[in-house]
């Protein structure tokens, strides 16, 4: 019990004094996960829109498959990306293993199913009247997709925030692909994992609090935008 209380006190001290290592790890976490989320959104939204507004055999099956991948284990993504980018793998020549770029690729793959799936459901929830109105106003296919995504923007933003949350909180792929190299690929989750195993509970708690604060700030921003 004592350990937890003193852990909390040290954690607050680390945060308030802006401990350089803690700040550095936090910024790296945000940069990597934000980049993965943005790349993921740029890929997922057009794919989601195309799937929603195209008719093809097996569409339902595909959507179910995408939804199943919401629960994709992070270590599986780590393994998959590891096989692709390790020295012996097909993309080994790119030297991406144990780099932040490699982690971005892994996190992007991890959250793509959520982003695509939730984009599909956001777009499917748009009133059919709105679709008819767009066609009736003489929209081209591209104009139609752009307008309908804009109409579903709040629901899609919520999906993107959820994707970011999954990216920044995962540890399996980050540790397998990044390797938790201090000053290079160490992020909040891998640091918590390491510090806890080394018995530095207070540092772990401090990093954990920061992780939660980041999630809180992002969600507050979303709420502000949605209520505007």
């Amino acid at each position: 019990m004592n350990e937890i209380v003193s852990g909390f006190l040290t954690a607050l001290h680390l945060i308030i004094t802006l401990d350089p290592e803690v700040i550095e790890i936090s910024i790296r976490s945000i940069v990597i996960s934000l980049t993965a989320t943005l790349i993921g959104a740029l890929i997922a939204i057009p794919i989601g829109a195309t799937i929603t507004f195209s008719e093809f055999p097996g569409k339902r099956g595909l959507v179910s498959f995408i939804q199943t991948l919401y629960a994709l284990p992070t270590v599986l993504v780590g393994l998959f990306v590891f096989l692709l980018i390790s020295r012996a793998g097909p993309f080994g020549f790119l030297r991406l293993l144990f780099t932040p770029e490699g982690m971005i690729i892994a996190q992007t793959i991890l959250i793509l199913p959520i982003l695509i799936g939730l984009t599909i459901s956001a777009l499917s929830n748009i009133d059919p009247m709105i679709r008819d109105t767009l066609h009736s106003l003489g929209a081209t296919r591209i104009q139609f997709l752009r307008s309908i995504v804009s109409e579903a923007r709040y629901a899609i933003m919520a999906a993107v925030v959820l994707g970011f949350g999954r990216a920044i909180s995962e540890v399996g792929a980050a540790i397998m692909i990044g390797g938790n190299i201090k000053g290079h690929t160490r992020v909040l989750t891998t640091a918590i994992s390491l510090e806890t195993s080394m018995g530095n509970i207070s540092v772990s708690i401090a990093l954990g609090i920061i992780l939660l604060l980041i999630a809180l700030v992002i969600n507050l921003l979303l709420a502000i935008v949605q209520n505007r």
């Binding site: 709105i130 106003l137 307008s147």
Partner: protein, 357 residues
């Protein structure tokens, strides 16, 4: 301008439209009237290229729109839907959308949006959030959004069905102006035959996926083609019988023992239905209330229903008749359930249909 030629539409096992045809003239205001589920919306959606017909063709100035399917053809038309639909943006952005799709410069968009808002009497609403407007205001935004694109053909799918009476009045005035001042050809569906009569040059009565009759409101109200149209336009008295004799254009019809005399070119022996409006039946206490009238029938009052300033009487005169009198007249005559009365109507008041149709 628009030719609808044998259009059919089948959804699964259901024929919603079965070989419907009509010709709409340039500048015409045409209403499609019919009960809910008659296929009115489906026809408008087919014209607006929102659905594909199972058979037949629709051509706009000679271009078969469903084989062409080009953006140019689509952009000549605009449609306003029954349920007001607005985008989650400002009124300005809502109305600008069609112009943005057409890559108009912003200065032109600004000018046209402002003009169209004045037209629908929502001047100054540019910055409002469209979703916060009332139903009637949203529908006016929807009309403005279509009108900025200068459509040659405006399609209105029961545009006032979900609105309060004041908004209905505003929108009716607006669409009349659009037709009469801008010369925009309009096809509007409605289930309200009086609205159709108020607004349109011609109307088509739609029954079971086809036009039972197309004509001016006067033609449809006075000379319906069949029993269904007759019922739909409020002719409550449909009397079946056989022409027993004719004399100089006036036929005597035997309706189960009761004789009525009406004007018709049909000859003796024909089975017919006599269509008679409740308003064309006069009611008095004694047969001498209508001396020069050919048909005077004695009977009793079966039921009395108040309808605002009018009283609707169901009469048993050997045949069942529905008549309408002012409530004041009903009071003065002292009419009550079971009263003995005399009903009369002119031979020229009735419209006669051959029964086979």
């Amino acid at each position: 301008m628009l030719r609808i030629d044998g259009i059919s539409k089948r959804f699964g096992e259901t024929d919603v439209l079965s070989g419907i045809s009509a010709d709409i003239e340039q500048g015409e205001f045409f209403t499609i009237i019919g009960p809910s589920g008659a296929g009115k919306s489906t026809l408008l959606r087919l014209i607006n290229l929102l659905d594909t017909p199972t058979g037949g063709s629709i051509s706009l100035d000679g271009i078969s729109i469903h084989s062409d399917r080009s953006l140019e053809v689509r952009r000549r038309m605009g449609m306003v839907f029954q349920k007001p639909a607005v985008f989650k943006s400002t009124v300005y952005e809502n109305i600008a959308l069609g112009l943005r799709f057409r890559h108009e410069p912003e200065s032109r968009i600004k000018e046209k949006v402002s003009e169209s808002l004045d037209l629908v009497q929502l001047g100054g609403f540019e910055g409002r959030k469209a979703v916060t407007l009332s139903g009637g205001e949203m529908q006016r935004v929807a009309i403005a959004r279509v009108m900025v694109t200068d459509p040659d053909l405006l399609l209105l799918d029961e545009p006032t069905a979900n609105l309060d009476p004041v908004s209905v009045g505003v929108i009716e005035d607006l669409i009349i102006r659009i037709n009469r001042e801008f010369g925009t050809t309009i096809i509007m569906s409605t289930h309200d035959m009086f609205q159709g009569q108020r607004l349109a040059h011609r109307m088509g009565v739609m029954v079971d996926g086809t036009f039972a009759q197309i004509g001016t409101s006067r033609e449809i109200f006075t000379t319906p083609h069949d029993r269904y149209v007759a019922r739909f336009v409020g002719i409550e008295n449909l009397i079946d019988g056989i022409i027993s004799s004719t004399d100089g254009g006036i036929a005597t019809i035997d309706a189960g023992g009761v004789k009525v005399q009406v004007v018709t070119p049909l000859s003796a022996g024909n089975r017919v239905t006599v269509c008679l409006r409740p308003e064309d039946i006069a009611v008095g206490l004694h047969p001498d209330h209508a001396e020069s009238v050919r048909n005077v029938l004695q009977g009793t009052v079966v039921s009395i229903t108040a309808m605002g300033p009018l009283t609707r009487l169901t009469l048993d005169c050997g045949i069942r008749l529905v008549a309408v009198v002012t409530w004041k007249a009903a009071e003065e005559l002292g009419i009550e359930d079971g009263s003995t009365i005399s009903a009369s109507f002119k031979a020229t008041a009735a419209h006669v249909l051959p029964l086979s149709r």
